[in-house]
Symmetry: C2
Subunit: 490 residues, 2 copies
């Protein structure tokens, strides 16, 4: 064969098979990939027009071989092989939980979650999608939350580029203000026939994100719906999850977000969510990160399948959530920078900046989003486009600082301040809404530190002269929301 | 007799009596005041040099008569009378709880608690005390928290002008950094002999506050002590409370704050505090307001003797405290505007301003304090003097606005905003850290309101044209911490 694929890249094989009948229901197609004595089973998928594909993300270098199996002879017992080569460039593999409360790529490189949210960006006009990608290429984010299904909401009133299932009967093509998923569907979709173009669009965008070094936190279910996606029959839900796994699990930058605001999907029970988790765990051989985001009521993040806490609310809750669940805490929705009338979407850039530092200095992670009113309703949070706010520059500044070191920041006691440390190598102290003229703190004895006073809004780093250890008293500008950073001198 | 005393003023009668022995222990002296069939018992007190006094605050106009009783003939069965006249000027009587969660003076005038804290101001050099009074005369505060006993703490290291008890043996005259009230006392005081001059000083200052229209929230016990006040024998504690009542209860502007940070007085039990409350209730015939302030652990504010919640912490807790206790919530300590290293004493003026509006717009009340470092350690919070911060002007602005109407602000639902109302006459909406470009809210139907957009920091009121009712959409400046005020047009 001679095909070469990078470790954590995607190997894909395609085959011609039956197009008649309903291939989505009638054709079983899977493959087993093997390296030495190790085997990995993956499902293939029907991509339309008689084409079947199987994808695989190798996690070890060397030769891999595969054999297909199917209930159709044209797809059964096909074999092949490829050579997995070392990863290059910015390919560090998928992100995993590390050090209990933090994240690292599979190659061990620290990953500091700096997220944003554009729920419906892939469902917009391609010109807007390209603009979003151009914006992301310059933005500080290394994760984006996005919906697999289209979204209906205020300022998200248009039809999507694609539907995920074939449309049997159209309903209203503009949003009428309702998204009560417990009522009757306004459209009629064929839950037995996927639209491959829809998923091809999603995976193309996920692949583009991967090239930008951005994790795709794929939201599998959400309640902002006027087409029926939020109330599919259970068999269709399971088939959908398997199809998504077959197509997308091989993208190393995929995370599974089972829901946005799971508790607003009132027709689904905890048993449903547990079933979805089982389906995804069964069909994602790579064990991607899994979370479930709430509106009011927290899901039980203690469940074994939940890898991290995906939280909507104030970063001041990070300490409690770390304690309650013993998992990484990502404040995926801390409100959006913007000016819409709704309270969740109109915090200031300064407040967004404070919240990022607050989450960081409590041992968690924060997510950004933006909701400035726009004449064409292109709000970043809903559709992408361009960023208008002032927090992304500050978030980029934060990211540059936290990426100067490696490892997770853990809460530490330096004399009663809000503070986190990476071992004894680096300490961050956040004054939050306090403004000491002199910041008194205690650094570890017997080590020497350089000390910087950081202004997260002005984006300045004021390095203080000398070496510091033990009890320190740092002269501060009398203003709140400052950071003191101590870095051990090697 | 012909003496005239205003309603809620002080009638005082003095008598010569024995000076030998220990009059504080040995002489019983009290009086019964009567108007018609109504009688009120009050204790008198020994004021030194053979002088005994009895004070009484009449609460009804007309003639009052009294008869004394004592175990000493010179003080027994003395009689007299006076005429109680109508109150004049700013005399509205003592403050009481009103409308469950709020306060009013005895004549029914609404009282909106706008407090400050100067723990040790009366114990300082008279020049500083006079300066404090001059500052208060121009400041926006209508309550001050202050300690009856002197205070020892960082930046409060000097000796007081007076001690409350005679000194038997002096200890160190500068604070050494310890105030652990559970250790040995560093001084030795005679718990059986009050120093009348100390209490005369306190009551002179309380009287001056009364003339300024300022309530005196007298802190009866506190832990910042190096002389022994925090660990008096129980009999001395009870005698002290009776003496304070005899001298000070007749000042209409007195509130009893049983403790500052009761939970740091680790040698006292809940039974002790309950006993103190019984003594004060028994000897204060006017039933002044009673509270007890905490550091970490809330006292059970549900106890019947606690008239209002005196809280240290964030005003965001107002809703919970109102719900838990069903009493007025006063955030007496929300941190101080200042720049000391300690977290409790270095919030910005803007943050202090936000906290006042936050407490108000949750249906509570907030207190101010100031801790800017000073070359002579004259920090407002500890010693008084002058104010250096920028929040008092903003608090004055808030006070002017809330005093344009009458009655307590109660939480109300106007479309999910943080909002309070006085019936349907007036509504305040606080954007807190949100910045809607358009504020959407719902005013009561069938009434007309004028609408103002208030900037609490810039101290501007932008009155919008026209009359408003029902659903409103107010164009807002895109900045956080704004207030929308709707006032019914008569």
């Amino acid at each position: 064969m001679g095909q070469h694929v990078q470790q954590w890249g995607i190997f894909e094989a395609d085959f011609d098979g039956p197009a008649e009948g309903n291939p989505f229901l009638e054709v079983d197609f899977a493959a087993t990939f093997a390296q030495g004595h190790r085997t990995v089973d993956v499902e293939g998928f029907y991509d339309g027009e008689g084409t079947y594909r199987v994808r695989f993300m190798p996690d070890e270098p060397g030769e891999w071989r595969f054999t297909t199996r199917s209930n159709r002879p044209a797809l059964d017992a096909k074999t092949g092989s490829f050579v997995c080569t070392a990863p290059t460039g910015s390919n560090h593999g998928p992100v995993r939980v590390a050090e209990q409360f933090h994240f690292a790529y599979a190659d061990g490189t620290h990953y500091s979650n700096i997220g944003t949210t554009c729920y419906g960006w892939v469902h917009q006009d391609p010109a807007i999608v390209e603009q979003t990608l151009a914006t992301l290429a310059e933005a500080p984010f290394n994760k984006i939350r996005m919906c697999v299904f289209p979204k209906a909401y205020r300022w998200n009133e248009n039809e999507p580029q694609f539907h995920a299932f074939e449309v049997l009967e159209e309903g209203p093509t503009r949003w009428d203000g309702r998204w009560d998923n417990s009522g009757d569907a306004q459209w009629r979709l064929d839950w037995e026939r996927f639209v491959p173009g829809h998923f091809r669009n999603v995976e193309t965008r996920v692949g583009q994100l991967r090239e930008l070094g951005i994790e795709a936190d794929l939201i599998l279910f959400h309640p902002y719906d006027r087409w029926g996606y939020s109330k599919m029959p259970p068999e269709a839900e399971d088939r959908y999850l398997r199809y998504v796994c077959a197509r997308l699990a091989s993208y190393r930058n995929v995370w599974w977000s089972f829901a946005n605001e799971w508790d607003l999907l009132r027709n689904k029970t905890v048993e449903d969510w547990e079933r979805y988790a089982r389906v995804v765990r069964r069909h994602d051989p790579y064990d991607h990160l899994r979370g479930i985001h709430q509106c009011h009521r927290l899901y039980d993040h203690g469940r074994p399948w939940v890898t991290h806490v995906s939280y909507q609310g104030g970063p001041d809750q990070v300490s409690r959530l770390r304690k309650d669940y013993g998992k990484p805490v990502v404040v995926d929705e801390c409100c959006y920078e913007g000016d819409v009338p709704n309270g969740w979407g109109n915090i200031s850039a300064a407040e967004m900046t404070h919240r990022f530092w607050l989450a960081t200095c409590l041992g968690g992670y924060c997510g950004h989003g933006e909701t400035y009113l726009h004449p064409q309703d292109i709000l970043w949070w809903g559709k992408g486009g361009t960023l208008h706010g002032q927090s992304p520059a500050r978030i980029a500044f934060l990211r540059r600082i936290v990426e100067q070191g490696s490892g997770g920041f853990e809460p530490c006691n330096v004399h009663g301040h809000m503070a986190v440390a990476r071992g004894e190598r680096e300490i961050l102290i956040f004054t939050h809404n306090h403004q000491p003229r002199v910041l008194e703190a205690k650094l570890p004895e017997g080590r020497s530190y350089s000390v910087e006073v950081i202004d997260p809004w002005a984006m300045t780093v004021d390095k203080r002269p000398g070496q510091h250890s033990g009890d320190i008293a740092i002269e501060m500008p009398v203003q709140p929301y400052m950071v003191v950073r101590a870095v051990e001198i090697e």
